[in-house]
């Protein structure tokens, strides 16, 4: 099978993942801190041995614990771009980029020509003679990208490549990645929805060392099934169990009704923050009411995001978007007890993910 395939378990890091990526596609890996995203990259790059598993790339087996195969990192054809540029401080920019071609056995002059080509491709040709210490964060990350590409990897792994850059350098680098990664096989770990939208074809959400959601970017963001993807997309997600058509019951006893065919069993209700209104007194109806406390108030333009406290079973709090005037009338303060009322017409129900 061509493309990238990873099936691996690492008990020490609490990771058990299974994922395939066709040639020429970019996969974005999302997830909270410590979910196992970097472990996933280390397993692919050969910097970590799984307890059990198999990694293959373009028909080549890189890791297979069943047959004892483990290809060393230098022979994998897997490039890595980390959060920090990690340019070798004792080499010039050109020598850094020529490092990969030199290791592949190219002559010095030929390697430097390759380096110039890639520096040109990332718009850093004028930096060739500088030392890494003389570069800004954005420049260094461009050079690091050129260095990774010059080694001609079959797959490029990017571990939060923009998170250490400042607000002006990050958008430039994001545009560059968008151009450079088109048609390449790459895995990008990120926290930022913009990165996903800019470069990724598909997205995988990792939580507690498992892939909990996987699909085309548009689908996952429009109809998230995991709390993390929902939060990233700015959508509320309440999980519970469906026992009668059109209603789910949460573990703490709230009932949320909505539209959508859902088989009995674990299910989620998905709704936009605009579908939620806030009341101070208990509403007459019991359904679609979530009793909570104000956790956070955040102002964005004329809108105020009201985030409720975490639910009793640890789900992230529901978020309501209100007009600033409405918040003033309610006189909300953090910690105050409130009732979220969700408009049933705007709630979509769907079956929850079953964890593998």
């Amino acid at each position: 099978m061509s493309g990238l395939s990873l099936r691996a378990r690492h008990r020490g890091r609490g990771v058990d993942v299974d994922l395939d990526l066709p040639d020429g596609q970019v996969l974005a890996v999302l997830g909270p801190n410590g979910a196992g995203k970097s472990t996933l990259l280390a397993l692919l790059a050969g910097l970590l041995r799984p307890d059990e598993g198999r990694v293959s790339l373009g028909g080549r087996v890189l890791t297979d614990t069943a047959t004892g195969v483990f290809v060393a990192p230098h022979a994998r054809g897997v490039g890595l771009l980390a959060q920090q540029a990690l340019l070798f401080p004792h080499l010039s920019v050109a020598a850094n980029v020529a490092y990969g071609p030199r290791r592949a056995g190219r002559r010095r002059g030929e390697a430097l020509a390759t380096a110039r080509h890639w520096l040109d491709a990332v718009g850093a040709a004028d930096l060739a003679d500088r030392r890494p210490a003389q570069l800004s964060g954005g420049q260094a990350q461009r050079v690091a990208l050129a260095r990774a590409l010059a080694a001609e990897p079959e797959v490029l792994l990017l571990d939060e490549p923009l998170s250490a850059l400042d607000v002006t350098a990050a958008p430039q680098m994001r545009r560059l990645l968008r151009t450079i990664l088109r048609g390449r096989t790459a895995v990008i770990v990120t926290h930022d929805l913009l990165d996903v939208l800019a470069v990724a074809d598909t997205v995988a959400v990792v939580e507690h060392g498992r892939i909990v959601e996987r699909g085309p970017v548009r689908e996952v963001l429009a109809a998230p099934r995991s709390a993390f993807a929902a939060r990233m997309a700015g959508i509320n997600l309440v999980s519970g169990t469906c026992s009668e058509p059109g209603v789910i019951r949460t573990p703490w006893g709230a009932e949320v009704g909505g539209s959508g065919e859902v088989p009995p069993g674990p299910a989620v209700a998905v709704f936009a923050p605009r579908a939620v209104s806030v009341r101070l007194d208990p509403p007459p109806l019991a359904r679609n009411v979530i009793r909570t406390a104000v956790a956070e108030l955040e102002i964005s333009g004329a809108t105020v995001h009201v985030r409720g406290a975490e639910s009793p079973d640890g789900q992230p709090g529901v978020c309501a978007d209100l007009d600033a005037a409405a918040v003033t009338d309610l006189d909300l303060t953090p910690g105050q007890e409130i009732y979220f009322v969700v408009d049933e017409a705007q709630v979509r129900l769907r079956a929850a993910l079953t964890r593998n």
């Binding site: 910097l47 230098h74 022979a75 994998r76 490039g79 070798f88 490092y99 990969g100 080694a151």
Partner: protein, 270 residues
Amino acid sequence: MRTLRRAGAAVTAGLPAWIYLPAALGAALVTVPLAAILLRIDWAQFVPLVTSESSRAALVLSLKTAAASTLVCIALGVPMALVLARGRFPGQSVLRAFVLLPLVLPPVVGGLALLYTFGRQGLLGQYLEVLGIRIAFTTTAVVLAQSFVSLPFLVVSLEGALRSAGTRYDDVAATLGARPTTVLRTVTLPLVLPGLVSGAVLAFARSLGEFGATLTFAGSLQGVTRTLPLEIYLQRETDPAAAVALSLLLIAVAAAIVIATASRRLGGVR
């Protein structure tokens, strides 16, 4: 005591004024004895004393053996530091403790241990004797004794540098196609070069001053095993003026090495 209070200087919150007093006492403990020995020097006789045949022989032998033992320390200490900093094997912490032992061991005890290893009746010496190789009381013994006491200085210094450098650059080099040996040569060692230089300087300086282990294991034969510290000790009995003059020579050589590399050592690990 008056501290400098320059306008525009940053305020150091964690440095109370009284701390200058014990610090000055510490500096005095090091510098006053050096001044005392300088005051005892008979400058009129200085040049003849330090250029006498026995003095020159001792100085040349000291420089040669210290250089040789520094090379031994680099050849053996670099792999040891790498294995201790990066490797994972059972008994690693025990090995680290044993490597540090010569730092706290009285050198005379080290010399005895070497004698029971390489001496004619020693653990390895008896087999070497069969092969016609004698080590004890030769120049080789001097180099061995110096290497024994100096090795921990290089290993500790380099291991610290390797740990603070981390393995992230090595990982990047590997993903760019570099084999482990190539990573070591092109990335790991260049990055810890300041730590290696500082470790080698410490090892050289320690070798230059080595006395106890050398005397026990190598004896005191002029031109063969009598290094500068041994010569100084010997002269002290018969000609204190010569001992003082030679001491100054040793101080001068040690100071020259330290000053020549001070800028790099202060730079530390990048």
